[in-house]
């Protein structure tokens, strides 16, 4: 690759510093999957429409397929591999198991990263009646906030239930 079209970048991936030379055209998704061996983030549509590639960049959920790696020099990226381990699952992963929240599992890493990011996002959504409030994360709110993640198996009902089970009690609107 002509050096004018490639760039040396550093990135913290799941807590580990990485230094790589990337083709300027490379997406964060391809970098993770093809160069760093992290195949948890999935390539579904490669157009930002399905959410299977969702990762956390600086703690915020993004579509890794629409993110140029070169534009994420210095970024901190977390993938499903950094969320939990087989013997030490993230609470949301345990909730997905408990609630049978997947069938084929292809969308699941993206669903999980998206849910982790979503639970930290402040403010109302498109279905919130009163913009002034921090609305309780009802099933309706969860559905709206998770609309960037498609599931071709149609496991949505259980995905919503799994996420709802992990909503901090202070944010459910129940009790308190």
């Amino acid at each position: 690759m002509d050096s004018a079209y490639a760039t040396d970048i550093t990135m913290t991936v799941n807590g580990e510093p990485r230094a790589v030379r990337v083709d300027n055209r490379m997406s964060v998704l391809d970098l993770l999957r093809e160069r760093l061996g992290l195949t948890g983030p999935k390539k579904g549509c490669d157009h930002g429409q399905c959410g299977a590639c969702t990762v956390l960049a600086g703690g915020r959920r993004v579509n890794a397929c629409l993110a140029l790696a070169v534009a994420h020099d210095g970024a901190s990226i977390q993938t499903i591999e950094g969320l939990g381990q087989p013997d030490d699952l993230h609470p949301l992963q345990r909730a997905f198991l408990r609630h049978d929240a997947f069938q084929c599992g292809y969308c699941t890493p993206g669903q999980l990263c998206s849910a982790v990011g979503m639970l930290t996002e402040p403010g109302p959504s498109a279905v919130t009646a009163d913009l002034a409030t921090e609305p309780p994360l009802t099933p309706g709110e969860i559905r709206e906030r998770m609309s960037g993640n498609l599931c071709r198996c149609g496991a949505y009902v259980n995905i919503v239930a799994a996420i709802a089970a992990e909503v901090p009690k202070s944010a459910t609107g129940a009790g308190a």
Binding site: D2, A71, P122, T128
Partner: protein, 340 residues
């Protein structure tokens, strides 16, 4: 994707200095990277401007807000002052795209995103916007026109502007600050910058559909300014944004309406703003509807009449006639919702 050089600009001046033929500015990349992958946009140089423009929302002395062009859509939609003072803007942003995309997409990039016309995005099809002079497939018999324009289109292009944010900014009389390269200075001020009022940033296609906006090559949006919030006596004027789409979330508008309604002490309409999304090459300010209502007593019949006045000159394409009735009904319904 064709190889390209990449440079990160640290300031607007540096960005416009770097700009050369075949360059593009990169914000969040949620539309641009996709267009590059589709082969619709083939830049020789990508200038990353996320570090060149502000990513903050600040209050001005006048009471208005300055929104940096680098503010992410999610940060704009959740901003307390935007929610409190410009609810139609918060609602418009929250109705756009998905959580992931709003986290990446910037305000400047949102305004400059390209149409989702299926023929623009398919490089095997003729398209005057993508490839000037190649023709408009949307005008061919049997074309898929359901998402295309009903107002202001030309025989050369019937694309619609896809932004929700821009529709609210158009109703709010926002203005856009632009920094220009030194050699595009004919319309810019002495410091190579200028303000563009909304509506007015986007342009109708006419015979030059390849130009979405009035921006000159290399001009960079640096911030958006909102005037002080419209008041209704002591209270904020009632306003909202409503979007009709094919599924409940994460879809572009078939038709959307941003509206503001203020009834004076005499019981007549004192201020009224209506802007439409999904119907034209621009976020469409419904001046005809506003003229009907200003000074008139508000009523369901008056709102229906105003909507009719706006849609009277709609020219639907074969296949998108439904948008005329949808826009008419949506305007009337949203205005009724805003009645005290």
């Amino acid at each position: 994707m064709r190889p390209f050089t990449y440079v990160r600009a640290g300031s607007p001046a540096e960005a416009v200095r770097e700009f050369q033929d075949g360059a593009v500015y990169l914000g969040g990349g949620t539309n641009l990277v996709d267009l590059m992958r589709l082969g619709v946009t083939v830049p020789a140089q990508v200038i990353d401007v996320t570090g060149a423009v502000s990513d903050e929302v600040t209050v001005r002395d006048s009471g208005g807000l300055t929104i940096g062009a680098g503010v992410r859509n999610s940060d704009l939609g959740s901003h307390p002052l935007v929610r409190e003072r410009y609810p139609m803007l918060a609602r418009a942003v929250l109705n756009g795209a998905s959580g992931q995309i709003r986290n990446a997409a910037t305000v400047g990039g949102n305004l400059l995103q390209r149409t989702r016309c299926p023929y623009f995005q398919d490089v095997t099809m003729p398209c005057n916007k993508r490839s000037p002079g190649s023709g408009c497939q949307a005008m061919a018999p049997g074309a898929d026109t359901q998402h295309l324009a009903i107002l202001g289109h030309s025989p050369f292009c019937a694309a619609t502007h896809p932004s929700d944010l821009a529709v609210a900014l158009t109703a709010l009389n926002a203005r856009v600050h632009v920094v220009s390269p030194a050699d595009v200075g004919q319309s810019a001020g002495p410091d190579n910058s200028r303000w563009i009022e909304m509506p007015g940033l986007h342009r109708l296609p006419g015979g030059v559909p390849e130009r979405d906006t009035v921006l000159m090559p290399g001009e960079l949006i640096t911030e958006v300014e909102l005037p002080p919030p419209a008041r209704s006596g002591q209270a904020p004027a009632r306003q909202t944004y409503r979007k009709v789409r094919e599924r409940a979330s994460f879809a572009f508008a078939l038709v959307s309406v941003a509206a503001l309604l203020d009834i004076g002490p005499d019981g007549r309409v004192r201020d009224c703003r209506v802007a439409l999304g999904g119907v034209a090459h621009v976020p469409w300010r419904a001046h005809a509807a506003e003229r009907v209502l200003l000074g008139a007593p508000p009523s369901a019949a008056a709102f229906a009449g105003a909507a009719e006045a706006e849609l009277r000159y709609a020219r639907p394409l074969p296949g998108n006639e439904y948008k005329v009735a949808l826009a008419r009904n949506l305007i009337a319904s949203v205005l009724e919702e805003l009645m005290p």
